[in-house]
Symmetry: C2
Subunit: 621 residues, 2 copies
């Protein structure tokens, strides 16, 4: 499957041309790659640079480069992978242990800090890199290094070994995938050991509680995702993989329940997850402040990974909906269009114009209102890189009855329909910039099979047209079973009405506000689009008038409130504004915000009328 | 001045009987006092316990004990002060340097970590302890130790010394007070040096920016308090002291402006300050989430210190109003009634019943929904202790024209009215539990002087009655000038109507909610008072009906909303509830919340009707 044009092709292009090479440059520049050389030459710990998880950044980049090659041969990139792999291999110890932070004289002993050391986490990413390499048919030194590291983990933490787990889940995901790629079930067994051990308080108590690393409750008993968002999502993704590979329906059902509760109560409209800056964690139910939304880019990546596995396990299009929402409104929001700077966190409300980040320096800040080129903790750029490089995989899946298209892009989809033969489809669309998606059959077996298409939950009045006959379709999955022939065209139309969206009244932080969505895109109001750069908090949206889509963009109508005089901000009557002349204001797709310099921004605009009031009595309006 | 009964006498009693002695016990138990002994016996750093500011906790406790003695002789407590002072004195180095964390072999060098080391901060608290000691007329070893430490600071950081500052302001406050107590102006000069040096970026850059330690902008140029709340407030308090002592009206005006902006945009209804858990910092303007309110107890203490100094400098009763609000609703909320456990942070919305804290263990958590007996960072208990022990001082002040009473409690007030003679007043009141405050003259000079009384900003329909003649008075200061005679009685009546309070519409986090206040007390809804312990988030308050005060408590009327089914929480119309039978529910004074076990709590209740809607158009209701 190959994305051949449109929104995602642009991202893949800047990813390959900019993000991947500059990430490699940064890793040399900040010394994270040199750590491996220093390990070989005996200059650790004194020359060690970066945090305890810096090794993993190189592995994530190797994964990105490997996916990149999987979709298109690139001998230069292949040489780079081999060269980097060689430097890593040289640092691996005889027993397979591989880490630049632990175990040497002057360093903490191996596995002496499971809560924070990230040793097994690093190996997990190494395994995922090796799996990506194997998916392009290569079994080189990287794969061999990974196998030795995985064997070391199994020996050290197996049935007879240390009964411990890593503070940051990821090894589980790496092991399950490595088991699939190699066919060796011992890795799957080890992943299960780690998963089943977690939740029994074997890690130390910390300020934020053991829920931070999901060691508070066994995964089968948990009811909702909690603690550090990336940790929770990686762990859940591994659990789904394990459930699929071991036919563990109870485990799968547990994760589905947790996903349902998490999406209903702990997820932002963008698909973003994680409400706390302090511990990068999910908040409690309905604790979703727009202004302190953490929504780490990596949590978006991890959420896509989890929903993807649930989609594979169940076929339920709600998971593909969430993937789409998160890809467009979290993952795509992180990198600048040129792929050279990134959001680490993805706020939904910028109250103060951000101080400009230096364009060529490592940022100390995870949160700001401007994208930065690199971070002290630089997990996000490489996570974006590996996601974009592997994006082709998310387009479609095959099943026993046929083929499902989940994500819409200008693309070519080739697949083998089980027991029937090869299918090749060409998808023509400028989605999400236009309403129509044309699927053209270029090759098909001459027996019947089913083409499944996703109708997103937001799509009202959608239609499917086959052989010139149009039919309405409802959100969900629509299947077309027939003997397709070359040249058949199926047109799915998803009318892109701009719509007001209102929050559940339980979400305190955004009560009395409304947002605009168009198709799968969440929109934002930026001060640069208000007269004189007025602060977005002074704009009151008139939600009684529909937002409109024109050739020039998406517009809403509203009023500008005056400045407040400073005084005690709590009084004996609700504040009310006097209406002024209405103005029409352009919105920006959320993923493109902050591309015009520092400013203020709101996804959830204050609503002018009681229309948007919370907890009103007397039934629906 | 002496508090002789009522609300604050109870707190002072549990402070003296419990908080102070158990704090001393804890300091022995966790090894913070032993650090000084270990310094003497050469067993540092190996036997060092606690964080880099643990020395200061002992100093704060010495300050509390010294204030305690200042109001009532206590030979046993005096012996304790001398014994602890002796252990501290033994650890002081020849040049006056005193710190158990730095400077020895195996420790970081002195002043090598000004951002985080807290060395000067510790000395600041030592100086405040010595000042408290001197205020009770004693000049013992503690005072001598402080003098030598202060001299060392002046030598090291003076005009010819290191041009640096401490990451945590406090030395400035200690130095100004020490200058007053000793009459030696060199300490005042040193305080000024520290204040003027700050704001020029001499401290290192950190993740949260230099605003964290107020090193971003010179104090005269700043427009609002920002960064770590306790740091910002201590620094501002020192600046007011310096402004008073050097007649620096520009500096005083700068702090008044910053106070005004901070109170208007960055202060909770309780008087609490600090919206961020991550960096214990003020949020941005109008960033005041109830559920993530940090409102550190120490920030409440520091806010009282700042407002007190501004009251002294200006006489403006708004500062006394803020002291009252903060004392009742932040400082008094921290300790349990028995003075044996404490809130570190003071949330305004508890979403999940807190896990029970062990009653006899050090808590790792600054935030929870239950009070804990001690903390790993245990700044709050000792800050409460020194505040309660010195509370008498906040009752009244004298001026050239007479005497002002600022805080109302059953009390005896003795003072010398400048140029006229001795005044002794007895104040009879159960305030804030009742409406009337009777000031009875027990002794007065036989010339006219002015008695000033504060009418709080919340007090509608207040009256003053003198010699049986009653007159209405407005919020602010009311002055009564006459030649008072023994037996004169002035009655101030402040009707305690329960009132709905609504937030400024700019505060996103609590839009569409309302709180109840009665007199100076903020009230809270606790789940224990709802049928079946229903979650407080399901209660919709009917703000069209006034809350009522009865002999049984304070009650509001509202409705219980049903549970939500889990689904995507953002939709195409605002949520509306169907009204059920109204119920009447008791509220609890905020300072007394969580005294009945784990539960959920809201200060800002969801408002049932559009009455509380935000940003409504069309003028006031």
């Amino acid at each position: 499957m190959t994305i051949t044009g449109g929104f995602w092709a642009d991202r893949q292009s800047s990813n390959g041309q900019s993000t991947i090479p500059i990430s490699l440059d940064w890793m040399e520049r900040v010394g994270w790659l040199h750590n491996f050389d220093a390990a070989v030459s005996g200059r650790l710990p004194q020359e060690r640079r970066g945090r305890e998880f810096s090794d993993s950044e190189i592995y994530k980049l190797l994964e990105a480069m490997s996916w990149q090659i999987a979709s298109r041969a690139d001998p230069a990139l292949d040489s780079t992978i081999r060269a980097v792999s060689g430097r890593i291999a040289a640092a691996q110890e005889d027993d397979g242990y591989l880490n630049t932070m632990f175990g040497r004289s002057g360093q903490a002993p191996r596995y002496s800090d499971l809560e924070w050391g990230h040793e097994l986490y690093n190996v997990g990413h190494l395994l995922q890199a090796a799996v990506a390499r194997m998916r392009s048919g290569v079994e080189d030194e990287l794969v061999e290094v990974a196998r030795r590291a995985a064997d070391h983990v199994c020996e050290t933490f197996g049935d007879e070994g240390m009964r411990s787990i890593c503070g940051h889940p990821e090894i589980e995901l790496g092991l399950v995938e490595f088991a699939r790629a190699t066919g060796d079930q011992k890795y799957l067994h080890q992943a299960r050991l780690f998963l089943e051990r977690r939740g029994h308080g074997s890690l130390g108590e910390i300020e934020w509680g053991r829920s931070y690393f999901q060691d508070d409750v066994p995964i089968r008993e948990a009811t909702v995702l909690r603690g550090h968002a990336v940790r929770a999502l990686y762990l859940s993704a591994a659990a789904v993989d394990l459930a699929i590979d071991t036919a563990d329906t109870e485990l799968l059902a547990a994760i589905e329940r947790q996903w349902t509760a998490t999406v209903a109560r702990r997820t932002y409209i963008t698909g973003g997850m994680g409400s706390h800056h302090q511990d990068e964690a999910f908040g409690e139910d309905y604790e979703l402040p727009a202004d302190r939304a953490y929504c780490e880019t990596c949590a978006g990546v991890a959420s896509v990974m989890l929903s993807w596995r649930l989609l594979l396990a169940t076929g339920n299009p709600r998971y593909a909906d969430m993937i789409e929402r998160t890809l467009f409104n979290v993952v795509a929001a992180s990198p600048a269009p040129d792929g050279r700077s990134f959001f680490y966190s993805n706020t939904l409300h910028q109250r103060t114009p951000a101080p400009a980040e230096p364009s060529d320096e490592v940022s100390l800040r995870a949160s700001s209102g401007l994208r930065a080129p690199w971070f002290e903790v630089s997990c996000c750029p490489t996570n974006v890189a590996r996601t974009f490089a592997s994006l082709n995989a998310y387009l479609a899946t095959t099943s026993s009855s046929g083929l499902d298209i989940h994500q819409y892009s200008e693309s070519v989809i080739r697949a083998t329909v089980e027991g029937r033969g090869e299918v090749r489809l060409r998808v023509h669309t400028a989605y999400p910039a236009e309403d129509t998606i044309d699927v053209v059959v270029e090759e098909s077996p001459d027996t019947a099979w089913e083409l499944g298409l996703r109708v997103p939950a937001w799509a009202q009045d959608a239609t499917i047209e086959i052989d010139g006959v149009s039919e309405p379709v409802s959100p969900g999955r629509v299947g077309v079973t027939r003997t397709f022939a070359r040249g058949n065209r199926i047109r799915l139309t998803l009318p892109r009405r701009a719509r007001w969206t209102f929050p559940n009244a339980r979400i305190d932080a955004i009560r009395g506000t409304a947002a605009v969505e168009v198709g799968p895109l969440v929109y934002a109001l930026e001060s640069v689009d208000l007269p004189g750069g007025t602060h977005v908090d002074r704009f009151l949206a008139d939600t009684s008038r529909d937002p409109v889509v024109t050739a020039g963009g998406v517009f809403v109508t509203g009023y500008l409130e005056g400045e407040y005089a400073d005084g005690w901000p709590y009084g004996d009557h609700p504040h009310a504004s006097t209406p002024d002349e209405p103005i029409s204001v352009a919105l920006t797709p959320y993923h493109a915000w902050a591309n015009r310099g520092p400013g203020t921004m709101r996804v959830w605009m204050r609503a002018a009328l009681e229309h948007a009031g919370a907890g009103r009595l007397g039934g629906e309006k």
